[in-house]
């Protein structure tokens, strides 16, 4: 942004692409002045969002979420553990967020992306504090065996609003989760009861009813970029890198605030701006709930 004045002079003669590369901020501001974004969205609008459940056959529950071209694949794998002595009636959930080198030119093998641990921490905080999962439901035999749910989220394509997409894929994978039917064998180990029932079932499954998690207060989120009084919902990677102030709001299905995250940035947000962000998130939550419900009902039909 060395030559802000030159931009004004040259812009009339320059090709659009060159202008976008040379003066990215000016390029975006021109759009904002017309209340439109470079990809044709209104300032407060989110990108097309889609959700597909059951993308990974080798897991117990999985989902692929796409917000614009940001793509997240989440999968849950259930394993058995001995519950901790302080909470013998509870299972556990371990959430990991990965940014493999395929997702962005900024990530190289062996060098994790800067954003990955941040998103991982946010995800963990949001999912655990929302209380959407009742860890007691993951218990199998009190004090002896409980489920450990490994939730792994992979970013396949990074184009902004990573946390929103990651959270959406995570909650969708958890909604898709079908807990395998298990029983105890002679050694006290937990083994899967085969679905076909070919072998004679000599042992009663320990979790006949609890095959699905009861998710309450599912959180959804929206990331906004703040720039000179504009609030841009659901930014792309380009917008995030040019205008550095991000606000992420997560609300649960009954409009309770689960988390609010504003990691610094050049713009100091007024409380009224934050209120606007929350309002936008409320609208977005309704959209996302509908998308999730449709995905689930599509799956049930099949």
């Amino acid at each position: 942004m060395g030559l802000p004045d030159a931009a004004g002079d040259l812009s009339s003669e320059m090709e659009v692409d060159a202008f976008r590369r040379l003066f990215p901020l000016r390029f975006h501001e021109r759009h904002l002045a017309e209340s439109i974004r470079p990809d044709g969205r209104p300032v407060g609008g989110a990108r097309d969002t889609s959700l597909a459940l059951g993308a990974v056959g080798s897991s117990d529950g999985s989902a692929l979420a796409k917000i614009g071209s940001t793509t997240m694949l989440a999968a849950v794998k259930m394993e058995v553990m001995t519950p901790l002595s302080e909470s013998p009636e509870e299972g556990c959930i371990a959430i990991e967020f990965h940014m493999p080198p395929i997702c962005s030119p900024l990530v190289r093998p062996g060098r994790p992306a800067d954003a990955a641990p941040v998103v991982a921490k946010q995800l963990n905080d949001t999912i655990v504090s929302s209380g959407m999962i009742n860890l007691k439901e993951l218990s199998l035999v009190s004090g002896k065996a409980a489920w450990m749910a490994y939730l792994d989220i992979y970013c396949l394509d990074a184009d902004g609003a990573l946390f929103d997409a990651a959270l959406l894929s995570a909650v969708a994978a958890l909604s898709h989760l079908r807990i395998p039917q298990v029983s105890l064998n002679d050694d006290g180990r937990v083994v899967v009861v085969s679905e076909e029932g070919e072998e004679k079932i000599d042992r009663e499954p320990v979790n006949k009813e609890k095959r699905k998690l009861n998710l309450t207060n599912i959180p959804f989120s929206l990331t906004c970029v703040l720039h000179k009084g504009y609030i841009l919902a659901d930014p792309t990677a380009e917008e995030e890198s040019i205008m550095g102030t991000l606000v992420t709001v997560a609300l649960d299905s009954s409009d309770q605030l689960v988390s609010l995250y504003k990691p610094g940035g050049p713009v100091l947000a007024h409380t009224s701006v934050l209120k606007d962000c929350v309002e936008l998130t409320k609208k977005r939550t309704v959209e996302l709930q509908k998308i999730l419900a449709e995905a689930i009902s599509d799956m049930d039909l099949e």
Binding site: A55, S58, V80, I102, C103, L156
Partner: protein, 251 residues
């Protein structure tokens, strides 16, 4: 969430005691295919927008994404080179294989992918720079490396990297007296030998050949013929996929 995670195990039943020898070599494959029949293959370019080129491949249960970045600046420490550099990396997701703890780290896959591709890429066309080929195996269903190789060459083509020909790859398992093409995990785990070939079909050149297990020469002949046949079929699929992608962007 007490800092450390307790040790866990997968409740899946142990591998059942091996089937009796005589029905190990039965005439039907676990998924009902014939011996010389490949899995249905689906390939598509442009899976990852932020990459210069990318492709997604799905062969049966094996699902793979490959992104290509560059040609871009080589690492600072690299010396000047008239030829471009090729850098490959293959990784698995934690949920790719049925047991999470297993963590199959196929470190050699990265070098093997590099070896399969380097003969096909015209490195002279991008001096001083590096092309990165990164592969992620989303789900492992057997024959992972051949799928990665075929998918990677499609991604390279999508990125506009100059190549002599598309590289396609196929593998074959030797199970007792039978040669089964494009094996799934179940077959690979009890195979007597394996042969994997990567080739450029229009130039009739083999870029990579790996054989394990004990083989007689006539058997190698037969296996290579089967694999090359499969490669030729696969190359028509990859070509169609590229043509479709090109015609859809023109519209």
């Amino acid at each position: 969430m007490a800092g450390k995670t307790p040790t866990t195990y997968s409740p899946s039943p142990r591998l059942k005691s091996k089937p009796a020898k005589n029905d190990a070599y039965d005439s039907v494959r676990p998924d009902g295919r014939g011996f010389a029949q490949c899995r249905p293959a689906f390939m598509r370019t442009g899976a990852v927008n932020s990459a210069s080129g990318s492709a997604y491949a799905e062969f049966g249960n094996t699902k793979v994404i490959v992104s290509v970045f560059g040609p871009r600046e080589s690492k600072k420490a690299m010396m000047y080179s008239d030829l471009g550099r090729l850098n490959c990396n293959v990784s698995y997701t934690t949920f790719a294989s049925p047991s999470r703890a297993q963590g199959s780290d196929h470190k050699e896959f990265s070098t093997m992918l590099h070896k399969a591709l380097e003969g096909a890429i015209i490195l002279e066309t991008f001096p001083k720079t590096t092309v990165d080929v990164f592969a992620l195996i989303l789900e492992s269903g057997g024959g992972d490396l051949p799928v990665v190789i075929s998918c990677a060459s499609l991604a390279l083509a999508d990125a506009g990297i100059m190549m002599y020909d598309l590289v396609v790859s196929a593998s074959l398992s030797c199970l007792g007296p039978n040669l089964v093409i494009d094996p799934i995990n179940e077959e690979e785990s009890r195979e007597d030998g394996n042969l994997m070939i990567s080739c450029m079909p229009s130039r009739n050149e083999v870029t990579q050949l790996i054989i394990t297990g004990e083989w007689s020469t006539p058997k190698i002949n037969e296996a290579m013929r089967l694999c090359l046949d499969a490669c030729t079929k696969l190359s028509t699929i990859t070509r169609t996929c590229l043509k479709d992608a090109a015609s859809s962007t023109q519209d």
